[in-house]
């Protein structure tokens, strides 16, 4: 077969690009990873926060499951988002400190911590980031720079397949054709957009910039997708799990979701991952739990509800501890900053003050309970912690969301 000169250069370009791409990821510095576990409904503060600060705090009931990891994590008290005044906005602002409605006035919008990190490593792994939830009601925790919520996946089978199942050659070919078709359509609509812009006033042109930016974004994503399409996916042990998703299978699904997260990291399919335990009226299928999760958080001090809420939150924390076990055994914990927390401070009162938050791994010095006294009625922004986490991720940021700097006391 005769190869035209143009085709040859193109082919060589791809070959040349490969080692460079790998060099970017770099064998010298181990890759940095970030995982966020978000609990929409919070953690009952009475059972979560220890009284004493420092290294010698007594473990509270909800921290008991994490006892063996005591020196692998740091616990924070009195951190929150200064601009967020109602619990209803807890989840949308959890990872950004900014409400979606206030995003447009800010340079970086309401981009969430995970997306800020993901931007910096786009293309280095097959998935720039992955986002798991428990049901179709999940979402709204992670936001792109443009102020768009990042969709979640909650079916473990679908997660497994997209991570590890190689599509057939036919499917891949069809996908490649589709990506190329999209590219050619984008070329034309860009011309169309230019002629459209001509008749517009200044403000409208500025608004239309969103469209041009989007075209560039999609072109970039097509490039990444096209590049990964030709490479086989990572291999995972065993087959895909056959389980119905949802809270009704909480006892088996939750450990499974954590396993999928761990697998995604272990196979370097992604460097950024989130798992959201979303607000749900569903009753988590756990021993002793007979009422809906949301109802339990509105316990109104009823003993029965408080007891059941404790069962749910204990289970969630136990499974988180199991996840840490696995990362630690696989040697990944040191490279992976793992956050476990909520944008809701107290479900019963719908407060968004004093958010529960824990940071494990990531190569930080751990073992402490850090308490941030409020100065002049203002709490230390939780975003300061995010600045520290982003810096550890390898992004030299000075500022993120509503931060006033990096977090004091964390090294």
């Amino acid at each position: 077969m005769h190869l035209g000169r143009r085709q040859f250069i193109r082919g060589a370009g791809v070959l040349l690009a490969l080692p460079r791409l790998e060099a970017l990821a770099g064998p010298k510095m181990p890759p940095r990873r970030l995982v966020v576990i978000g609990l929409d409904l919070g953690l009952n503060p009475v059972n979560w926060f220890p009284k004493a600060a420092g290294r010698d705090y007594a473990l509270t009931p909800l921290l008991q499951p994490l006892a063996r990891h005591r020196n692998d994590f740091t616990l924070f008290s009195k951190l929150d988002h200064p601009d967020i005044s109602s619990g209803h906005f807890g989840t949308p602002a959890f990872l950004s400190g900014v409400l979606p409605s206030g995003a447009k006035r800010r340079k970086d919008g309401n981009i969430s911590l995970d997306q800020r990190a993901a931007e910096a490593v786009a293309g280095q792994t097959r998935f720039t980031s992955i986002h798991l939830g428990m049901s179709e009601r999940s979402g709204g925790m992670c936001w792109t720079r443009a102020g768009v919520p990042v969709p979640t996946v909650w079916n473990p089978r679908a997660v497994f397949d997209s991570l590890f199942h190689d599509d057939s050659a036919t499917v891949r070919k069809a996908r490649a054709t589709q990506l190329d078709a999209n590219r050619s359509v984008l070329d034309v609509v860009t011309q169309d957009a230019r002629s459209f812009a001509r008749g517009l006033g200044h403000t409208d042109r500025q608004k239309l910039d969103e469209y041009f930016t989007s075209v560039r974004g999609v072109e970039q994503r097509i490039g990444i997708a096209r590049r990964w399409l030709g490479r086989p996916k990572a291999k995972a042990p065993g087959g895909g799990p056959e389980l119905s998703p949802g809270w009704a299978n909480a006892e088996t699904i939750i450990p499974l979701m954590y396993d999928l997260l761990a697998l995604a990291l272990e196979t370097d399919s992604t460097r950024v991952a989130t798992l959201q335990f979303e607000n749900t009226q569903a009753q988590p299928e756990l021993p002793g739990v007979t009422q809906g999760y949301h109802l339990l958080t509105h316990h109104g001090q009823l003993k029965e509800r408080l007891d059941q809420l404790f069962l749910v939150e204990t289970f969630l924390t136990e499974q988180f501890a199991r996840f840490l076990d696995r990362l630690k055994q696989g040697g990944l914990l040191e490279q992976t900053s793992v956050l476990y927390g909520s944008g809701l401070g107290n479900g019963n009162s719908h407060s968004s003050r004093d958010l529960p938050m824990l940071l494990a791994g990531g190569g930080f010095k751990h073992g402490q309970h850090l308490v941030y006294p409020k100065e002049g009625g203002r709490a230390t922004p939780l975003c300061n912690l995010y600045v520290s986490v982003l810096q550890r991720f390898g992004i030299p940021v000075e500022q993120f969301g509503t931060s006033t700097g990096a977090l004091d006391g964390l090294a």
Binding site: V148, F196, D204, L208, N279, G292, G300, S349
Partner: protein, 794 residues
């Protein structure tokens, strides 16, 4: 000392207002460097009214001064003249502001409707916008240009949606062969707690959510879009003559057994339960006794599959087997204990009550009459030329673009798209594969996705006005008649514009306006965001109350619109719309059937107006308990149009305690004794208290779960005392001018696609004055908005 500090800070702001001394003396103690009550700081607020954020805050200051709310009563009063000077200064600044519409794209609902009308495809079940990210609606409505963002994620979805639409539109070649497929009981879903299957048939026993029957061999759908005939062989068994009471089963023995035939898709979730979007293709009355064949004819999308449900069946079997046990003779003690349909299937035979029995389902189609599909014909014409070349492609694309872009198009601007198709033809692609590139480009072009409103010298041109009108009244593109009127320049003529508006309001597409406006104004779109607790409010699920509640509110609005009734009816009315199920929630007797009818209300029903509608009462609760604060804020926002400031960050939130020693009202009284809370809560809480008589799904209650009685009386912030919701509504009706302003402002934002600025106030005041003169009819109000200058300018 204090004042020097303050003065120093003033000097730092770029523009110091001339009324500085007044503000310094009157406001800065609480809204200055030391305190920022309500989050407001005035000393750093620029006197630059062109800055929208500053203008908005100055507007707030103005409102407070105007209403005499600030400074608070316990602070020294400024002189009237000083207040007037400041008010005049702010007013002057604000009068110059008026926000222009910012280039806006279609929202998801508009995209779906527009694709429907552009191609004439059925979008009852098919939603090309299904995976679009949520639209921003910071100003209450998703029609506001500045809040509608385009992102790379959305653009990817546009590309994918265009492909899905093309799959439905571009259908060359012979018709798919019509087939007749018969599904016997063997291919029905396996039995579960709510169904009982034998080799011959399946019995649906309850109307519980997970009791739907679907066809396990057809979960991927029928395979081709088109008209289908569905024949169902079914019979009602034991509908009467069983030993159980009406109350035990919660069924109506006077109704025939009803079979719902839903269409759904596996992609949207499990087929044995309700889907987030589904289509009720038919509701059949099934005769008792011998099986009969019931035939329906319906459009089905390629991925659609039927789901059957016993619409008016009994409660779930977990309840039924207790009923069964109770009816066993006492001598059967042992057996009685063991009745459990799940644990011991043989005990299901002991159930003697109603069942809906289905023997087989036959599906025939797609019927050849629907080929080629109307959408294909619309795009390619009934008789395409023999030579399918780039010239013909250009003709097809230009014809479509003219409607897609809602205006005439030039040959010049079609060139790049036609060239793309030409290249693809040149690369050897078949005609229909090649033209898909062009059609896709049109659907992803900003000319289609954005509403161009250049507004030269302020006024919209004819086509821009036609589009604004149709997206306001129909949530979709202009039809041919409206476009033709725009082509002829007739919309500049007042009579024609009014006649077109009347025509459009009488068209069934006005549903788009009703659902999108009301769905956002009353927040009905968010009805299931925090759905009621499943055990506490089980009837909400048995009786599909979410849909029935929303239906009432939509019908109510639509009725006022059609009949041009006074908007005061939104505050209180002597009628509403209900079906049997909703009437049961309301405790209104004499309403039968599933269809909604107009129902006369008496004061003792405590319904009437939006504050009596279960939809509003449910969406303002969290599915578990009610909060007078949340509902009070809702009233301020949606009845008065004056949302309160968010709570200060440093106040401890209320920690609900429902053990019974106190009520939420006791707690709020205490909360209000905190000075920082009082100023807002005295405005919020009274309205919420009045609604405490309605539980989280809007049913009336005299007491809380803790048995503590409910006190619904209070005093409004302007000093009117009421004892319950009935009296409060009388007060609200007397103040209907406030509500008229609120509703008009909301309609204006929705219609123009831009937030209102203070500069709009005189025009709105004028509009309301006219509406009042004409009796506040809703139809009139909409006409007036269309006639207003704000609507016809950018």
């Amino acid at each position: 000392m204090m004042s020097t500090l303050v003065f120093f800070l003033w000097a730092l702001t770029a523009v110091a207002p001339p009324v500085q001394p007044f503000l310094q003396k009157t406001c800065l103690k609480c809204h200055g460097p030391d305190k920022q009550k309500g989050g407001l700081r005035i000393d750093t607020l620029a006197a630059d009214f062109n800055d929208p954020k500053a203008a908005e805050l100055w507007g707030k200051v103005l409102d407070q001064l105007d209403a005499g709310e600030m400074p608070p009563e316990d602070e020294p009063r400024p002189t009237k003249a000083a207040v007037a000077r400041t008010v005049a200064w702010i007013n002057q600044g604000l009068a110059r502001t008026s926000q222009r519409q910012v280039l806006r794209r279609l929202n998801a609902a508009e995209y779906r409707n527009t694709v429907r009308d552009l191609f004439g495809i059925d979008t009852t079940l098919f939603n090309p916008a299904e995976s679009f990210p949520g639209d921003g609606a910071d100003h209450g409505f998703d029609t506001v240009g500045q809040d509608l963002v385009t992102s790379d994620f959305l653009l990817e979805q546009y590309l994918a949606a265009a492909d899905r639409v093309m799959d439905k539109v571009v259908k060359p070649g012979p018709a798919p062969r019509s087939t007749k497929r018969v599904f016997s009981a063997a291919s029905f879903r396996d039995d579960n707690t709510e169904t009982m299957r034998t080799p011959e048939h399946i019995d649906m026993v309850s109307r519980y959510q997970t009791g739907r029957v679907f066809l396990t061999d057809l979960t991927q759908g029928v395979g081709h879009d088109g008209e289908y005939v569905i024949r169902i062989t079914a019979a009602a068994i034991n509908r009467t003559g069983h030993p159980y009471s009406v109350a035990e089963l919660d069924v109506d023995p006077t109704e025939p057994a009803r079979l719902n035939v839903f269409l759904g898709t596996e992609a949207r979730g499990k087929l044995d339960r309700p889907q987030p979007e589904e289509q009720l293709a038919a509701r059949l009355d099934i005769a008792d006794g011998e099986p009969r064949v019931y035939e329906i004819r319906t459009w089905m999308d390629a991925d659609a599959t039927p789901m059957l449900m016993y619409h008016n069946g009994p409660l779930r079997t977990a309840k039924l087997y207790k009923v069964v046990a109770n009816h066993l003779p006492a001598s059967d003690g042992d057996k009685k204990r063991k009745v459990d349909f799940r644990a011991d299937r043989s005990t299901r035979a002991l159930y003697l009550g109603p069942r809906l029995r289905v023997f087989s389902v036959e599906i025939e189609g797609p019927i050849a009459a629907s080929w080629p599909p109307p959408a294909h014909v619309r795009v390619f014409g009934a008789q395409p030329p023999r030579k399918l070349d780039v010239g013909y492609a250009t003709e097809v694309l230009t014809r479509l673009a003219r409607r897609a872009y809602r205006r005439p198009v030039t040959a010049q601007e079609m060139k790049p798209i036609a060239a793309l198709v030409g290249r693809k033809l040149g690369q050897g692609l078949g005609f229909h594969d090649a033209i898909r590139f062009g059609l896709k480009a049109i659907l992803c072009s900003p000319k289609f996705l954005y509403l161009r409103e250049r507004g030269n010298e302020g006024t919209l041109d004819q086509h821009e006005l036609a589009a604004r009108l149709s997206y306001f009244l129909w949530s979709t593109m202009p039809d041919d008649e409206l476009l033709a009127a725009a082509d002829r320049g007739e919309l500049a003529n007042r009579e024609t514009l009014i006649a077109q508006t009347r025509r459009m309001l009488a068209d069934s597409k006005v549903d788009g306006f009703v659902t999108n406006f009301v769905g956002q104004w009353l927040r009905l779109r968010r009805l299931n965001e925090m759905p009621p607790d499943r055990t506490k409010f089980e009837m909400y699920y048995y009786d599909v109350l979410d849909q029935n509640m929303a239906q009432e509110s939509y019908l109510f609005f639509r009725h006022l619109l059609e009949q041009n009734l006074s908007i005061a009816n939104f505050l209180d009315s002597d009628f509403t719309f209900a079906n049997k199920r909703l009437a049961r929630l309301y405790g209104i007797d004499g309403v039968s059937g599933d269809a909604f009818t107009k129902v006369a209300l008496k004061p003792e029903h405590r319904r009437g107006g939006i504050l009596g509608q279960a939809s509003v009462l449910t969406v303002t609760a969290n599915g578990i308990e009610t909060s007078p604060v949340v509902r009070g804020v809702w009233v301020l926002e949606n009845v008065f149009g004056r949302p309160p400031s968010p709570p200060p960050a440093n106040v401890k939130a209320l920690e609900p305690d429902i053990r019974g020693a106190t009520t939420v009202r006791d707690q709020l009284e205490k909360h209000r004794s905190v000075e920082a809370c009082q100023s807002c809560h005295r405005k919020i809480d009274p309205y919420g208290f009045a609604l405490e008589n309605f539980d989280p799904v809007g049913a009336f209650r005299a007491r809380y779960d803790s048995k503590r009685p409910i006190e619904a009386g209070a005093t409004t912030p302007d000093g009117h005392t009421f004892k319950d919701i009935v009296e409060l509504k009388q007060i609200l009706v007397a103040q209907k001018d406030d509500f008229a302003r609120c509703l008009t402002e909301k309609l204006m934002v929705y219609a123009t696609g831009r937030p209102l600025a203070r500069g709009d106030r005189p025009a709105i005041a004028e509009l309301i004055a006219q509406a009042k003169e004409r009796g506040y009819g809703l139809h009139d109000l909409v006409l007036q908005i269309v006639e207003s200058r704000a609507f016809q300018t950018k």
